[in-house]
């Protein structure tokens, strides 16, 4: 039992300190449902939502880096109301708390998002994603707007380059917890088009920068700190805990080795890891030995398919 956000009228309690980072896992459990046991995670953080729908960016969006990748999506999302319609019922049925990531576009939009999500049963907390250029004043306004519209616990995800001052501002403005840090932006040349492309950068190298920022913020913060950036193994995750984080968010390794997210969660959750010996070739998959997937799947033989669920409940009118 980990109290993930500052104690108060509402606080988010999770069983396991490991969760995916916003933007890596999808809007609900679907993309990774067949690949990992979501129930073993501490929580799920959704892809970023904005008040209005956003479409995907034009031009190259995924460009390889040495030992990493640059991604520029333009934050496509259906907008908050349509996302609630599409995913709200699944969030309500989730085995683990669902934290909805809200992009801090403007105080007014954040207020609208908070208000809509506050009435959505499956939402356990909001994570506010600050923009790279956010100032401490912006943070105060954004948080005031959110707090006026929801009692849900508020996590604030802080950009790497401004981690200390923005974390301080978020705590002063009433944030329930801090997520350190959103990955930085970079520019690289796309080999296919020859263009210079900007976007967020992901990869194991990021860990050193994020770990330092996490340590710095943990030393000054009076509220829980969640570490994030370049975590690719249980040992990486433990380094963030040692630097003062209460929990961690795992990012791009979920894309390259999906089972690793579950392995990290099981490992930090104190579950024993064993490597399966003698599993049949068509039963065995990488990482499976390290989990109890075989047993889980056998147990499912008799159970009804998970998709066989009641249709989404109608939502209360706005």
């Amino acid at each position: 039992m980990i109290e993930l956000t500052r104690p108060g009228k509402t606080s988010l309690v999770i069983d396991n300190p490991v969760m995916p980072a916003a933007g890596t896992f999808g809007f609900d459990h679907a993309p990774y449902r067949a690949l990992i046991d979501v129930g073993k995670l501490g929580a799920v953080v959704t892809n970023p939502l904005t008040w209005r729908p956003r479409r995907v960016a034009r031009g190259p969006r995924v460009v390889p880096l040495p030992s990493g990748v640059l991604i520029h999506t333009g934050l496509p999302n259906p907008g908050t109301n349509r996302a609630i319609k599409q995913y709200g019922a699944r969030w309500a049925r989730s085995e683990v708390p669902v934290i909805v990531h809200v992009v801090a576009t403007s105080p007014a939009d954040v207020a609208r998002c908070a208000n809509a999500l506050d009435r959505c049963e499956g939402v356990a907390a909001l994570e506010i994603g600050l923009h790279d250029q956010a100032t401490p004043d912006d943070v105060a306004q954004i948080l005031a707007a959110a707090e006026a519209n929801t009692l849900l616990p508020l996590l604030v995800r802080v950009p790497l380059y401004q981690a200390v001052p923005l974390a301080r501002a978020a705590e002063a403005a009433g944030a329930g917890a801090l997520v350190i840090a959103a990955p930085p932006r970079g520019t690289t040349r796309d080999p296919e088009t020859g263009q210079l492309v900007g976007g967020r950068i992901y990869g194991p190298w990021l860990k050193a920068q994020a770990l330092r920022a996490t340590g710095q913020v943990a030393q000054i913060a009076g509220i829980p700190v969640i570490g994030s950036g370049g975590i690719h193994s249980p040992d990486d995750a433990r380094d963030f805990i040692e630097a003062g984080a209460i929990a961690v968010q795992v990012d791009s390794v979920t894309w390259t080795q999906p089972h690793m997210l579950e392995v990290i969660a099981r490992n930090l959750g104190g579950l024993e890891l064993t490597r399966a010996v003698g599993a049949l070739s068509d039963e065995w998959e990488p990482g499976m030995g390290q989990t109890m997937r075989i047993d889980r799947e056998r147990a499912r033989r008799g159970t009804p398919p998970e998709d066989d669920s009641p249709p989404d409940k109608p939502l209360p009118p706005k």
């Binding site: 933007g23 890596t24 896992f25 999808g26 609900d28 679907a30 993309p31 990774y32 449902r33 067949a34 690949l35 892809n47 479409r55 995907v56 034009r58 031009g59 190259p60 969006r61 995924v62 460009v63 390889p64 880096l65 030992s67 990493g68 990748v69 991604i71 520029h72 999506t73 496509p76 999302n77 599409q86 995913y87 296919e192 088009t193 990869g203 791009s252 979920t254 894309w255 390259t256 080795q257 999906p258 089972h259 070739s281 068509d282 039963e283 065995w284 998959e285 990488p286 990482g287 799947e297 056998r298 499912r300 033989r301 159970t303 398919p305 998970e306 998709d307």
Partner: protein, 282 residues
Amino acid sequence: MRIILVWTVWSSGVRRGHQDTWANLQFYPARCTLWPMRETQAIIERVRRVSDTLQQLHLSVDPSLAQAQAGQSLFAAPLNGGESYLREQWIPVGLREGQMVVEIPSAHPYTPGQVVSLLAPLGRAIPLRPHLQHMLLIANDALPTPFVWLAGDLCARGAAVTLVLGGRALAYPLELLPAEVEILRADTDWRWPDQVETLTWADQVIALAPPYACAEVYAGLYDTISQLRVQNVPDGYVFGLYYYRLACGTGACLACQIPGQKYDLLACTDGPAVDLKKVAFR
């Protein structure tokens, strides 16, 4: 084991809440939407250099992949880390004697005996009209590897296949294609002999453009076809293949999104073949 897998799946259509996108295409291979991506391992049995720039890897794959169909691909990573951080999309050119053969650039150094992790199947089978007689395939500035398996299947069941090659596609070694395929050569302006005739002859058209040109090329093709067909272009008639560079391959990151008329689509889970009638060209 395979049966269990069917139980555990959330179908790709269901999971992003737009079942109706495909609902009117009755001829879709229904099985594919029920068959989830799994992580398995494969052994590289043979590495065959097929041109200056291409190699074919013969893979011993998990038996479950025997169900894969033309259009589906593998999301691969060498077990002990490779050159690239992200997984690579490996496109099969056929299933032979229990081995899957993929065709990839020869720049990547793979050796027989190497073990790779696969997330597969990636994407859906290319949707075919049920009584298809005449298939027109068009590859411009992109090697026609994604057509090899499909063309083989179609020829085997007696359909007539015409393949138009333009630009960089002309560098492709023709001996890798089934001998029955008729090859036409397009000029730099995307014109080929009897263009109107072939387009009206075809029951179905599938085009392939490089990632950075998909929007423009497919919009142009769709325009041309719309002008030829005075009534509306039928559903499931003209498709574009989207081979964007994929980050997650699972539908999580949305980096491969294709803006749609009614619903947005994902190259990784809805593709590679997308009905161009459903695409919103801006």
